[in-house]
Amino acid sequence: MNLDEYKKIVDQLTPKENKSKNALIAFFVGGAVGVFAEIIVTVLMHCFGVSRTESYLWTCVIVIFISCLSTALGFFDNLVTKAKAGLIIPTTGFAHSITSAALDYKRDGLITGIGANVFKLAGSVIIYGILSAFFFAILGVIFYG
C-alpha cells in the first residue's frame, strides 16, 4: 500500500465533525446561558432590590458557583464536551477549567498539587487579560484623558 492510498483510507475513517451542527449547538447553549443570567438579574432586581450593576456581579458569582459545583459533582465535563464553545466562552468555562484542574491534582497534595496547578489552564486568561487591560488602559488615558 503506498502513501496516497493510506492517506485516503485514514481520511475516510477519521470521524468527520459536523461543523455547522457544532456551531448551532454552541449558539443555542450560549444563548441559553445568557438568558439564564438575565433571569437571575431580573429576579435579584425585583425580589431582592439589588441595583443593576451589583446584580451583574451577583450573577457572575452564581454562575461560577453552579459550574464549580457541577464540575466537582462530575457531570459538567460531559456537558462541555457536547456544547463546546457554548459553555467555554461564558464564565462557566473559566470556572470549569480551574475546578477540573484542582480535581485532577488533588491527590498530589495541597501545595504541590492544587496550589501549583489550579491556574494551569485559566492562568493564560488572567495573564493576557491583565496585560491587554493594562496597555489598553494606558491607551485609554492617552486618548480620553
Binding site: A26, V35, E38, I40, C60, I88, F94, T99, R107, A137
Partner: protein, 116 residues
Amino acid sequence: MNYLSAFIFTGITCFLAQLILDNTKLTPGHVTSIFTMLGALFGFLGLYDKFISFAGAGATTIISNFGYSLYKGAYLGFQEQGIIGLFSGLLTKGSCAIASVVVFSFVFVMIFKPRD
C-alpha cells in the same frame, strides 16, 4: 425583550468561538484568551458599554467581560489615583470572578472526591 437580546448576543459570541475552534488549530485556551483580550479592546473602544446596555447579563456573563472589567478597573484607577492607580485599580472590578472561582473550586474539591 431583554431576554431575546441576551440570547442573541451570547449565542452569536459562542457561535463565532465555535467557528474559530473548528476551522483553525487553536485550542479552547487560545480562544478564551483571545476573547478576554477582545473584551479589553472593546472596552477601550467604548463598544463594550453598548454591548452591556444592549444584552445586559448576556454580555456580563461571557469571558470577555473579565477583560473589560480589568480594563475598566485600571482606567478608573488612573482617574482616581494617577499612575499608581493603573496598578492598584486593575484587579478591583475583575476580582469578583477570580475570588469566587478560587473559593468555590477549593471548597467543592475538598468536599467531593474526583471520579475515576
